[in-house]
C-alpha cells in the first residue's frame, strides 16, 4: 500500500520557524529534520500515523496524520528545561536547585577574550576565583579558588574535561568549550575527594546540535606590544650614577664622553603577534550528533624567535541507540604544541646592563661590560699599564637570547567514551573510560664555543683550540652541546555510576552511586646528549656528534600513582523549596601506601531554602527569586611533597664522592639524608553560606557567599637544626592555613527595545589568608630567594602564606656622623637606606626584620559592561586586584654598576638634605620594605566593538567582524613592569609558589597589550 506525502512547518509560540527540529513517525522509520525555515516533509505516511516533534528546549508534541497534507505545529517552550543547568561531578543539576557554590561560565564569555588557555580569559569573571596571568606565550595562569591553602603542595584546581580528571587544560582550545563550571565550595567539590582541595573546574566541550550542518569559521590577528615599559637611564645619566656610586666606594670614574648609548629594551624587545583560526562543523540527526573542529593558535613573544604554536583537532560524536535508551558519547582531542623558548633572564639583564655597552663590538663580538680603568672609557682595549674593569657583572641580553636555542614539541591525545543506559525512566547507568596520552620532546643546542668567545672579546679561536687540545675530556671546551629530552605519559580513568532520579508528589529525590579507578603518570622519561655536532641546524642529530666525547643517555620509568574511589550523593528537595544534599567520597591512593591508613573519607552536607516559594514571598513583584544556601565539607590535597629515600648517593659530581689513589680515582660515597617519615594528604574543611537573588523582573541577578576554609594539616618544609646530625630538609604536617572570605556578584541586564539591550555586571571577592598553629621548631621556613644571598619571605604564625620578612627602611643616612651615632647595619655609608632597629639593641641584623603582608591579593574584582544596538555590539571588561604587596627585585638586587630607571636616577639622594626617602647611587642591596610596593592595580582587560551583518547571502547565515583591544590600559602605582607576578617560567617548573618567586619581579615576563581584528562567519 502506497502512503502519501505530507509537509509542514514547525515554529515556536511566536510563529518563528524552528530549524533542526526532529519530526518522526512513531513506530516507523519515517523521519525528517526541519530545514532553516522550519520546513519538513514526510513521505509514505498513512492517515492515523502519530508523529512526534521534538526540539531541545521545547516540550515534545505529537499530532496525528489526517486527511490534510500540510501541518503547522507550534511548540511550547519547556520552561523547566530552559532553566540554567550546571555541571556537577558525575551529573548535571538545575542551577536553582543547588545547595553549593558553583559558578558557570559559558562559551561566549570564554572566547571574548583571546587566549591560548581558557582560564586566562576568565580573569575577573568568576567571584571567588583569583587568576594571575602571565603574558608569556603559552603560559599557564595561576588559578586560586577561595584562597591558597597550601605552602608546598599542589596549588592548581582539578580540571575535569569531559569526565577526564587532568591537571591542566593547555591542550583545550577555548573555542571548543561549551561551558566551564567552577565547583568552589566543599560541598560541591567533595565528590572529587582527595584531589578537590583546590577546587574543581569542570570543562565541557561542545557537542553537535541536532539539525542541519552548521559551519563556523573564526579568525583573529593581533599585535602585542609591551604595555607598561619602564624607562631606563641613558648613557649620560648612567655615567653620573656610576661615578657617584664609585666616588663613594673609592672606585673608578667614567668619562663623560662615551661611544655607545644602548637602549637595551629597544634591542631586546619586539612587538609580539597572535593569530587564532578556527573552523568547526556540527549538526545531528536521529541517531548521531557530530562536532568537528580544527583550531590553530600562534603567538610570537616579545623576544626574538620566541614562538608558541598549537593545533587542535576535536571530534565529538553522540550516538543514540535503542530509541534513545542508550547514548554513547565519544570525545577526542588531538593537540600538538610547538614552542621556541627564550630566556626570561634577558628581561632582567636588559634592565641592568649599562647603556655604555654596545650590542656588538666592531670586531663582531657581542658587547661586554668592560671599561678601561685608567681612561674611564667603556672599552675592553687597554694600553700599556692600563687595566680593565667591569661596569656590571651582567651579560649581554641580546647574546643571551641568541645563544639560547631551545625547542619543545608535544602531542597530546585526550578523550573519553561514555555510555549512558536508561534502565528505566528513573534509573540511568553510566560507564565512562577516559584517557590521555602525551608525547613530549625538547631539544637544546648550546653553542659553548660561541659563548666562551663572546664572554670576553679578547679571547681568540686559537686559545680555545689550544684549551680544547690540552683538555680533551673537558666538556667546557667542546664546540657545542646538543641535548634532547623526551617523555611519554599516559593516564586513564574508568568510572561507573548509577543515577536514580524520581519524585513522589512533592518529594524529589536524586541519588548517584559509583566508583572510579584511575592510574596516572604511567610512562618514562629519557634524555640524551652529545657534543660537537655541525653548526648547521639540519645536522643537529646525535648521529653527527663527535666521538671525542662520550654520548650520554639516561632513561627512567616513572612511578605511577593509582587512585581507587567510591562515591555517593543524595539530593532531596521538597517542592523545590527545602533542599538537602549529602555527599561522601572514599579515596585510596597509592602515594600513601606506606601509611597505616591510606584511605581517606570526605563527607559533605548542603542545605537550601528557596524563600520565594514560601507564601510570604510568593508572587512578590520585586523579588522574583531568593534562596539561602549553607554547606560544610571536607576535601583533600593528595598532591603533596613526600619525604625521599634515606640514603643519598650521586653518580655524578656530588659532595659525597671523593678521589683516592695516585690516579685520583673517583670513589662513590653515600650519606644519610634525614630519617624519612610518612605523610598524609592535606585536609581542608570548609563552612560556606550563600544567597542567590533575582529581582525586578529577573533583570537584577546575583549572589553573595561567605566561606571559612581551614587546611588542618598544612605540610611545611622543615630544616633540621643547624647543629644536628641530619642535613636534608624534610616535610611534615605542621600548621593550619585559614582562608576566610566573601564573594559578591551582581548583574543587571535589560532590553529597552528590539534594537537596544544592555547589561552591566560586577563581582568582588575578598579573602584573608592566615597561617595558624605552627608546630614548635617548624616556624621560620624561608623563601623568596633573590639569587644574591638575600631572602624576602618567611613563614610565621599569624601571618599570611608567603609573608614578606624584611628590614624596615626609615630614611636615608645623610652624614657619616649620623651613622656613627645610631644603630646601623655593617657597611653603612651616607646615601644608604637606614633601617629601623626594631629590638633596640643598637645593632641592625636579621633580628630587626619584620613582617610586611603577602603577595596574595586580599581582594579582586571584575567589571563587565556590554550593549547591543541593532547590529552593533560593544563590551568592556575590567579587572582589578589589590591589598597585596609585590617586590621590585629588579630595582633591589644590585651587585654594583647596574643601570637604573630614569625615575630612580632623578629621585636619588645626592648629598645631605637632598632626600630622606630614596637612596643614593651608592646603596646596599639588602632586602627591605623600600622595594616592597603596593600590588594594587586595575586594568581594562578587553574592549571589543563588533558588527554583525544581517543575512548576507544564502550560504552565509551570519557574519560578524570586530576589533578588540586587550589590556589597553593599566592603573597602578607599581614602578616595575607588571604587578601581576605569577612566577611562571617554562624553563623552571619550580619557580612558582608562596616561598619561591611568585610576587617578586626579577625575570618576570612583562605585561603586553593586544590589538586585534577578527571575524566570525557561520555557514
Amino acid at each position: 500500500q502506497e502512503g502519501k506525502t505530507v509537509s509542514g512547518v514547525i515554529t515556536d509560540q511566536n510563529e518563528i520557524p524552528l530549524p533542526g527540529a526532529e519530526v518522526k513517525v512513531i513506530d516507523k522509520e519515517i523521519y525528517d529534520v526541519t530545514d532553516f525555515d522550519g520546513n519538513f516533509t514526510l513521505e509514505n505516511v498513512e492517515e492515523g500515523d502519530v508523529v512526534r516533534v521534538t526540539f531541545l528546549g521545547f516540550l515534545p508534541q505529537e499530532f496525528t496524520i489526517s486527511t490534510n497534507n500540510t501541518y503547522t505545529i507550534a511548540l511550547e517552550e519547556d520552561t523547566d528545561q530552559l532553566e540554567e543547568v550546571v555541571v556537577v561531578g558525575y551529573g548535571r543539576q538545575k542551577k536553582q536547585d543547588l545547595t553549593g557554590a558553583i559558578s558557570q561560565v559559558a562559551s561566549e564569555e570564554i572566547t571574548r577574550q583571546p587566549a591560548s588557555n581558557a582560564a586566562q580569559a576568565l580573569q575577573g569573571k568568576v567571584a571567588g576565583v583569583n587568576i594571575i596571568n602571565s603574558d608569556a606565550p603559552g603560559s599557564t595562569p595561576t588559578v586560586a579558588i577561595r584562597g591558597l591553602g597550601t605552602a608546598l603542595g599542589g596549588r592548581d584546581p582539578l580540571y575535569v574535561v569531559d569526565g577526564v580528571p587532568v591537571n591542566d587544560i593547555t591542550n583545550i582550545s577555548p573555542s571548543n568549550i561549551e561551558s566551564m563550571d567552577f565547583l568552589k565550595d566543599a560541598s560541591s567539590a567533595a565528590i572529587y575527594g582527595v584531589r578537590a582541595a583546590n577546587g574543581v573546574i569542570i570543562v565541557t566541550t561542545k557537542q553537535g546540535k541536532s539539525g542541519k550542518a552548521k559551519m563556523n569559521f573564526r579568525s583573529f590577528f593581533g599585535a602585542k606590544p609591551i604595555l607598561n615599559q619602564v624607562e631606563m637611564a641613558n648613557a649620560s645619566q648612567y655615567i653620573t650614577y656610576f661615578n657617584e656610586e664609585n666616588a663613594a666606594i673609592g672606585g673608578d670614574q667614567l668619562n663623560q664622553t662615551q661611544e655607545y648609548n644602548t637602549d637595551w629594551y629597544d634591542e631586546v624587545l619586539q612587538t609580539g603577534f597572535v593569530n587564532n583560526t578556527v573552523f568547526d562543523i556540527n549538526g545531528g540527526g536521529e541517531n548521531i550528533n557530530y562536532f568537528f573542529s580544527y583550531d590553530y593558535y600562534e603567538e610570537q613573544g616579545l623576544l626574538e624567535d620566541q614562538k608558541f604554536r598549537r593545533s587542535t583537532i576535536t571530534g565529538n560524536n553522540t550516538f543514540k541507540l535503542f530509541e534513545d535508551r542508550l547514548k554513547i558519547t565519544q570525545n577526542l582531542n588531538i593537540s600538538t604544541r610547538n614552542e621556541n623558548r627564550k630566556p626570561y633572564g634577558a628581561f632582567n639583564t636588559a634592565y641592568r646592563q649599562s647603556p655604555l655597552v654596545p650590542v656588538f663590538y666592531p670586531n663582531g663580538r657581542y658587547g661586554g661590560s668592560y671599561y678601561n680603568r685608567a681612561t674611564g672609557e667603556a672599552t675592553y682595549i687597554a694600553g700599556p699599564g692600563e687595566s680593565i674593569g667591569n661596569l656590571t657583572s651582567h651579560g649581554n641580553p641580546v647574546a643571551d637570547v641568541a645563544f639560547q636555542n631551545e625547542r619543545f614539541n608535544s602531542v597530546r591525545l585526550q578523550g573519553s567514551v561514555t555510555a549512558e543506559l536508561s534502565i528505566t525512566d528513573d534509573i540511568t547507568f553510566t560507564s565512562r573510560f577516559g584517557a590521555r596520552k602525551e608525547f613530549a620532546r625538547g631539544r637544546v643546542y648550546n653553542p659553548i664555543q660561541q659563548r666562551w668567545l663572546n664572554s670576553d672579546p679578547t679571547r681568540t679561536v686559537e686559545e680555545f683550540e689550544n684549551l680544547k687540545a690540552q683538555n680533551p675530556e673537558q666538556l667546557q671546551y667542546a664546540y657545542n652541546e646538543l641535548s634532547f629530552n623526551s617523555s611519554e605519559n599516559y593516564k586513564y580513568n574508568w568510572d561507573n555510576f548509577i543515577n536514580y532520579n524520581t519524585n513522589f508528589g512533592k518529594h524529589n529525590l536524586d541519588v548517584t552511586l559509583g566508583g572510579s579507578k584511575e592510574q596516572i603518570g604511567i610512562g618514562m622519561r629519557d634524555d640524551y646528549r652529545a657534543w660537537d655536532v655541525p653548526e648547521q641546524k639540519q645536522y643537529w642529530s646525535l648521529k653527527h656528534a663527535s666521538d671525542q666525547y662520550d654520548k650520554q643517555v639516561n632513561q627512567t620509568y616513572l612511578t605511577p600513582t593509582n587512585f581507587l574511589s567510591y562515591f555517593g550523593r543524595v539530593q532531596y528537595n521538597f517542592n523545590r523549596k527545602y533542599y538537602f544534599t549529602g555527599t561522601l567520597r572514599r579515596d585510596g591512593s597509592s602515594t600513601f601506601q606506606n601509611n597505616a591508613n591510606y584511605w581517606g573519607t570526605f563527607p559533605a552536607l548542603g542545605v537550601g531554602w528557596t524563600l520565594t516559594e514560601e507564601e510570604f514571598l510568593a508572587n512578590n513583584e520585586t523579588i522574583n527569586f531568593l534562596k539561602l544556601r549553607g554547606s560544610w565539607g571536607e576535601l583533600g590535597n593528595a598532591n603533596v611533597p613526600l619525604n625521599s629515600t634515606q640514603i643519598l648517593t650521586d653518580p655524578a659530581s656530588g659532595g659525597q664522592n671523593y678521589v683516592f689513589g695516585p690516579g685520583q680515582d673517583l670513589i662513590f660515597g653515600a650519606y644519610i639524608g634525614s630519617p624519612a617519615q610518612n605523610l598524609s594528604w592535606e585536609v581542608v574543611s570548609e563552612y560556606s553560606a550563600g544567597l542567590d537573588y533575582e529581582l525586578f523582573d529577573y533583570k537584577l541577578t546575583g549572589s553573595l557567599d561567605y566561606y571559612m576554609r581551614t587546611t588542618e594539616n598544612t605540610i611545611l618544609e622543615v630544616r633540621p637544626l643547624l647543629n644536628s646530625t641530619f642535613s636534608t630538609n624534610f616535610f611534615d604536617h605542621g600548621a593550619e592555613v585559614v582562608n576566610e572570605g566573601f564573594e559578591f556578584a551582581i548583574n543587571w541586564s535589560d532590553e529597552i527595545s528590539e534594537d537596544f539591550s544592555y547589561s552591566i555586571g560586577s563581582n568582588f571577592s575578598f579573602n584573608k589568608n592566615t597561617v595558624e598553629s605552627v608546630q614548635r621548631n617548624y616556624e621560620g621556613q624561608l623563601g623568596g630567594d633573590l639569587g644574591n644571598g638575600q631572602i624576602t619571605k618567611r613563614l610565621a604564625e599569624g601571618q599570611p602564606l608567603g609573608s614578606w620578612w624584611l628590614f624596615e627602611a626609615e630614611g636615608v643616612w645623610q652624614t657619616q656622623e649620623e651613622i656613627d651615632n645610631n644603630a646601623s647595619i655593617g657597611g653603612a655609608r651616607p646615601g644608604h637606606l637606614r633601617y629601623t632597629d626594631q629590638n633596640n639593641d643598637g645593632v641592625i641584623d636579621d633580628r630587626d626584620k619584620t613582617y610586611h603582608g603577602s603577595y596574595i591579593p586580599k581582594y579582586n574584582y571584575g567589571l563587565n559592561i556590554g550593549f547591543n544596538y541593532r547590529n552593533w555590539d560593544f563590551s568592556l571588561d575590567g579587572y582589578g586586584a589589590g591589598g597585596n604587596k609585590v617586590y621590585n627585585a629588579l630595582l633591589n638586587t644590585r651587585i654594583g654598576g647596574e643601570n637604573v630607571p630614569v625615575s630612580v636616577f632623578n629621585d636619588r639622594w645626592t648629598g645631605p638634605g637632598s632626600t630622606n626617602v630614596n637612596p643614593g647611587a651608592d646603596r646596599d642591596a639588602r632586602a627591605s620594605d623600600y622595594y616592597l610596593e603596593d600590588g594594587d592595580f586595575f586594568r581594562i582587560n578587553n574592549i571589543t566593538l563588533g558588527y554583525t551583518f544581517p543575512e548576507m547571502t544564502r550560504f552565509i547565515s551570519k557574519a560578524r567582524v570586530y576589533v578588540s583591544a586587550q589590556n589597553p590600559f593599566i592603573f597602578t602605582k607599581y614602578s616595575g613592569f607588571t604587578p601581576e607576578i605569577s612566577g611562571y617560567d617554562p624553563n623552571d617548573t619550580n619557580a612558582q609558589g608562596p616561598y619561591r618567586t611568585t610576587g617578586i619581579e626579577l625575570s618576570a615576563y612583562p605585561l603586553t597589550s593586544t590589538f586585534l581584528f577578527g571575524f566570525n562567519i557561520q555557514l
Partner: protein, 464 residues
C-alpha cells in the same frame, strides 16, 4: 582490588632495597666528600683569609661577595652568612662522621677499625674549626643503631653549649684513638693514597695542643711526626703547590681533587680566587693585601712572595701570561691551578697540614718553654729552604715573634692566619696596622642567628 594501590617504585630505589648495597667505606667517603663542597671555596675564604690582614676582599669594588666586604671590614653581625654557612657545614660533616662510625660498628667487615679511625680524624679536624671559630660549642650526640634504625643520643641537648675545654678534650680523645689505629703514610696501599694517616692525626694533635698552650704535649706529637721518617721538606718551596708534589714528601694531609666534572675538586676553589677581568679566569676574590707584600719585603723573602702571589702582568711558571689589565693587581697563587684554569671543578689539592708547619709548631712550643736552641733549629730548617738567613741568638720573646712572623709568611693563604692572630693575641695590633677596628667580640664569631631562632635557649657569644 586493594592490590591496585600497591604500586612498585620505579623512579627511585626504595631504601630497603638499597641498604644491602652499602658498606662502611661508602659512608666514610661521604665525610671526605664534605670537604670538596663550594662552602670551602667561598664562605671559608671569608672567615679564614679575607677577614685577616693577609688578604683583601678583592673583585670589583661594587661586588661585595654577599658579606665578604663586611668580613674584610670587621663590620659583620650575628646574621653574617659566611660563618653561619660553615657552622652548619661543619656540624653536618660531624653528623656524617657520627653516622659512619655507628654504621661501621654495626656492620663490621674489613678495615672497620681503620675506617672508624679515619672518621674520628675528620670529626676532630672539624670540631677543631668549630672550637677555634665559635669557642665552646655543642658536642653532637653520637649514634647507635637500634633495630636497624639510626638513633641519635637522646641525652644531648642541642640548644646548650659545651665548654671550650670539653670540646678540646673530645677532639684530643678522637685523635688519640685515631693515632693508635691509623697506618702511617707508607703503610697504606697505593689506592688509599689521600686517606688520613697516623702522621696526620699526630700533626693535628700537635696543633690542637699548641692552641691550648700545652707546649710539652705539642712538642711530643710534633716529634712523633718528625721522627716517623715519613716526611721531609720539599726542596723548592714553590713546588709544594704543583700538581706533581700532590701527596708528596712534605704533605701530611690534603683535600684531594682531580678536576673533572665527574669527580670534582673543591668546587670553584680556584675559580673564586682566579684573576678577574679580560683574559682572566676567575672571580678575583681573596686577594693578597699590601700589608702582606710589605711583610714579605720586610723579611727580604722573594721566594715565598713570588710563590704566594700572582702579580698582574707577570708570566707564571707554566708560561701563562697574566694580562696587565686584569682587574686586581694581586691574586693568590696557591689557589692557582694550571691544568684547569677557571674551571668550576679544579684539580687543586688543598694542603691542610704539611711538614713545614710541624717544624714551626715544634719551634714555637720549644721557644715557649725556653728551649731556644731546639726552637731556633726547627725554625732555621724552614728558613733555609727559602734562602733566608738563619736566625740566631734571639731572646725568647723575640724568637717567639720571629716564629709567628715565619708562620705568617710560610703559611700565607693556607687558612690559618686569622686563627693565629686570635690565638697569639696579635689580632688587635695587627688588624689596626691593616686599618681595621678589631674589638673584643671579634675573638669569636657569633653563633649564627638562624641557629638561635631554632634553639632560643642557646647562649650567644659575648658582644654579639
Amino acid at each position: 582490588s586493594e592490590e591496585f594501590l600497591e604500586v612498585d617504585a620505579r623512579e627511585n630505589i626504595d631504601a630497603e632495597d638499597r641498604d644491602e648495597n652499602f658498606t662502611p667505606d661508602d659512608f666514610v667517603t661521604g665525610i671526605y666528600g664534605m670537604f670538596t663542597e663550594f662552602d670551602y671555596a667561598f664562605a671559608y675564604l671569608g672567615i679564614t683569609e679575607i677577614i685577616s690582614d693577609n688578604a683583601d676582599k678583592g673583585s670589583s669594588p661594587t661586588d661585595t661577595g654577599t658579606d665578604k666586604q663586611l668580613l674584610d671590614d670587621l663590620e659583620f653581625t650575628s646574621t653574617v652568612p659566611s660563618s653561619a654557612t660553615m657552622w652548619e657545614h661543619w656540624y653536618k660533616t660531624i653528623g656524617r662522621a657520627n653516622y659512619a662510625i655507628a654504621f661501621a660498628q654495626e656492620e663490621g667487615g674489613t678495615n672497620t677499625d681503620r675506617l672508624i679511625a679515619e672518621a674520628k680524624f675528620l670529626r676532630a679536624y672539624t670540631y677543631f674549626f668549630l672550637v677555634r671559630s665559635f669557642g665552646g660549642v655543642t658536642i653532637q650526640g653520637e649514634i647507635e643503631f637500634v633495630n636497624g634504625e639510626a638513633v641519635v643520643d637522646q641525652d644531648v641537648d642541642l640548644s646548650s653549649r659545651n665548654t671550650q675545654e670539653q670540646v678540646y678534650e673530645y677532639i684530643e680523645q678522637d685523635l688519640i684513638d685515631a693515632i693508635s689505629v691509623l697506618p702511617a703514610k707508607s703503610e697504606y696501599s697505593a689506592q688509599d693514597l689521600g686517606r688520613a694517616t697516623r702522621g696526620a692525626a699526630q700533626g693535628l694533635l700537635a696543633k690542637v695542643h699548641l692552641y691550648q698552650e700545652e707546649w710539652n704535649e705539642a712538642i711530643e706529637q710534633a716529634n712523633g711526626v718528625i721522627s716517623s721518617g715519613e716526611y721531609s721538606l720539599e726542596p723548592n718551596y714553590e713546588d709544594v703547590w704543583r700538581e706533581y708534589s700532590e701527596n708528596g714528601v712534605e704533605s701530611i694531609f690534603e683535600i684531594q681533587a682531580r678536576g673533572e666534572a665527574i669527580a670534582h675538586g673543591v668546587q670553584q676553589y680556584s675559580q673564586t680566587q682566579g684573576a678577574r677581568g679580560t683574559s682572566g679566569w676567575g672571580w678575583g676574590f681573596n686577594t693578597p693585601s699590601e700589608n702582606l707584600v710589605e711583610a714579605f719585603d720586610a723579611e727580604g723573602d722573594e721566594i715565598r712572595k713570588n710563590a704566594t702571589i700572582i702579580f698582574a702582568g707577570e708570566t707564571l711558571w707554566d708560561g701563562r701570561e697574566v694580562s696587565a689589565s686584569v682587574e686586581n693587581p694581586l691574586y693568590s697563587e696557591k689557589a692557582y691551578s694550571s691544568a684547569s684554569v677557571g674551571d668550576g671543578d679544579g684539580d687543586k689539592n688543598i694542603r691542610v697540614l704539611r711538614y713545614a708547619e710541624i717544624l714551626l709548631i715544634k719551634a714555637e712550643a720549644e721557644a715557649q718553654i725556653g728551649n731556644l736552641q731546639a726552637a731556633t733549629e726547627a725554625l732555621n730548617l724552614v728558613r733555609e729552604r727559602v734562602e733566608l738567613e738563619p736566625v740566631s741568638g734571639l731572646a725568647q720573646q723575640e724568637l717567639i715573634e720571629k716564629i709567628w712572623n715565619e708562620r705568617r709568611l710560610e703559611l700565607a693563604f693556607e687558612h690559618d692566619r686569622w686563627f693565629d692572630l686570635l690565638r697569639t693575641g696579635q689580632a688587635p695590633e695587627a688588624m689596626a696596622a691593616h686599618g681595621k677596628d678589631f674589638q673584643e667580640k671579634h675573638y669569636l664569631f657569633p653563633i649564627p642567628e638562624n641557629q638561635i631562632i631554632q634553639t632560643p635557649d642557646m647562649e650567644q657569644n659575648p658582644g654579639w
